[in-house]
């Protein structure tokens, strides 16, 4: 149960997700991820970063089993959530996906009102009480720093929101389910600096309660947010350390090259 190899200074952290020797292949191509071993600590912000095609999105999709939906994806190794295997065939995938929420790079508002978007996950889980649904909605929208902007237009189509608002809507939609882990794949790729700041501020709030995993849109964002960070290069986890160590004193040459922009 190594959290950060070589970091003695780390306080006792509770492990949330333990990944061991993970390997993911698509079809006959070389593995998108290979030999990945790391432990995501609870109630911290963990950052996975690196150049395009490194396997970051694949790793997120593997953790909540969304890669099951990809034809030809094969997964080997072990992933545990709170010590329980989540890759096995008898895992309750529906429940797992409620415990580990994911927000995709491109915001996808469902074709319904803002309110119904927020209700959606809970309704799937069988919640029928309008009071419960509305309370969860307000709480989630507030946590995603969107409540003030939409509280007077909850029954308007979600698609009418701006890009940045849509992104926070998608975050709120996941928060409404009160997951234990929230994964965000490049959550500010289409956002202006102000929206980005809002999202980042809400992430700092959220980590009090949730385990946050984020694939940042830039190295700057990675270093701003990371309690823990992993650098991924062509399917390999090159370096895994606390954010401070990795960004200030990278041990691997390739990490350093990437951080300083000397890459390729």
């Amino acid at each position: 149960m190594v959290i950060a190899p070589g970091s003695a200074s780390a306080p006792a952290l509770e492990p949330k997700i333990e990944i061991e020797n993970l390997r993911v292949c698509y079809g006959a191509e070389p593995p998108a991820l290979d030999g990945i071993t790391l432990t995501v600590p609870a109630r911290q912000i963990t950052v996975f970063f690196g150049p395009a095609g490194g396997g970051k999105s694949t790793l997120l999709r593997t953790i909540n089993r969304l890669n099951d939906l990809v034809d030809g994806a094969r997964t080997e190794g072990r992933v545990r959530l709170d010590g329980e295997d989540i890759l096995g065939p008898e895992v309750d995938i529906t429940r797992l996906r409620r415990r580990i929420g994911i927000v995709f790079a491109l915001p996808v508002p469902l074709p319904m009102s803002i309110r119904r978007n927020l209700w959606y996950g809970l309704e799937l889980a069988g919640e029928r009480s309008r009071r419960v649904l509305d309370e969860a909605m307000e709480k989630a929208l507030s946590a995603a720093a969107l409540w003030d902007e939409v509280k007077d237009r909850l029954d308007e189509p979600a698609i009418a929101l701006s890009g940045g608002q849509q992104q926070r809507l998608c975050l709120a939609r996941v928060l409404a389910l009160e997951p234990e882990v929230i994964m965000l794949d490049e959550p500010s790729s289409g956002l202006d600096p102000i929206s980005t700041a809002k999202v980042e501020a809400s992430l700092q709030e959220l980590k009090q309660q949730y385990t946050v995993i984020i694939v940042p849109s830039s190295v700057q964002q990675a270093s701003r947010l990371a309690d823990w960070a992993g650098f991924f290069l062509q399917g390999e986890l090159v370096e895994w350390a606390s954010g401070r160590e990795l960004f200030l004193a990278p041990k691997d040459r390739r990490t350093e090259d990437y951080l300083t922009g000397r890459f390729g």
Binding site: L69, T94, V108, G121, L124
Partner: protein, 285 residues
């Protein structure tokens, strides 16, 4: 002529050509509807609609044929819509892309090209004789369903596939099962396209003569069918009979019958449009 004037001229010519082509396609439709309405209108009296034919079909009305066509269309819908929709959902949402599913899809497309009289013979052999349903409303509806299914399946599958994959990912990513995702997101989104296919298919079923000729259509039955195992009169067959088999038939009866059939089919279109817009208003927000 400057280059600008030249471009303008080309644009004018292009627009006129396109407009003419449109007119050439619309004109026959207007003519058909106009002539049928013009010649059929005089026949339209309550007695024409609500009475059975008399005097060797030359007098009286078309009530048994009108009711029969409604029965056959509803019967076809009750069979073909659930089966077709289920097949489309299976093909689009569940089946993996294999040689087998590709073969099915090609078979479905080819089924749509089979002449309707062949469906009639097939229905006679399978439903009337082999399954011993006799010439009846069920046998005719089943035959019409077989003919309608390819249209419904392929348009519905296309409509389902047109729903963005990202919706499915989001829904399942939040712990939705595949079926919840289909029912709550995919089907409502695809509904307009599915309805269009259903209406296209049922309109064709309502207007066909050949498939029901050997499977359930009666030449003359003054009373309405009492069960689904009875034969029935039907508008298209009735129209065929009074246009070709009865000497001395008044023209206005023929066109009156055609007009009723036309209005029946068009009203299905109107109904579909109405459902679509109602659904759109209700669903989205």
């Amino acid at each position: 002529m400057t280059a600008g004037e030249r471009r303008l001229l080309i644009q004018r010519v292009a627009f006129s050509t396109l407009g003419l082509a449109t007119a050439l396609t619309v004109l026959p439709i207007i003519l058909i509807v106009g002539v049928i309405a013009w010649k059929g209108m005089p026949a339209l009296a309550p007695s024409f609609l609500f009475e059975a034919p008399r005097d060797g079909l030359r007098a009286g009305g078309i009530w048994p044929a009108l009711v029969g066509t409604v029965y056959l269309t509803v019967g076809t819908g009750l069979i073909a819509v659930p089966v077709g929709l289920a097949a489309a959902i299976y093909l689009s949402e569940y089946a993996r892309e294999t040689f087998f599913t590709r073969a099915i899809r090609i078979a479905i497309i080819n089924l749509a090209g089979i002449p309707s009289v062949v469906y009639g013979l097939f229905g006679l052999a399978l439903f009337v004789l082999f399954l011993k349903l006799g010439t009846s409303i069920v046998a005719a509806s089943l035959t019409l369903s077989i003919m309608t299914l390819p249209v419904i399946i392929s348009t519905a599958e296309e409509a389902l596939r047109a729903v963005p994959q990202s919706f499915r990912l989001v829904s399942q990513g939040m712990g939705g099962t595949k079926w919840q995702t289909i029912r709550r997101i995919v089907l409502p989104q695809a509904l307009p396209g599915i309805l269009t296919g259903v209406i296209l298919g049922l309109e064709r079923a309502a207007g066909e003569t050949a498939p029901i000729l050997f499977t359930g259509a009666a030449l003359f039955l003054p009373q309405l069918p009492r069960s689904i195992f009875d034969e029935t009169m039907a508008l298209p067959y009735h129209l065929f009979v009074i246009s070709t088999q009865v000497p001395g038939m008044p023209v206005k009866v023929q066109f009156g019958t055609a007009l009723v059939l036309l209005v029946f089919v068009l009203s299905m279109n109107v109904l579909a449009t109405f459902i679509r817009s109602y659904h759109r208003r209700r669903r989205q927000w």
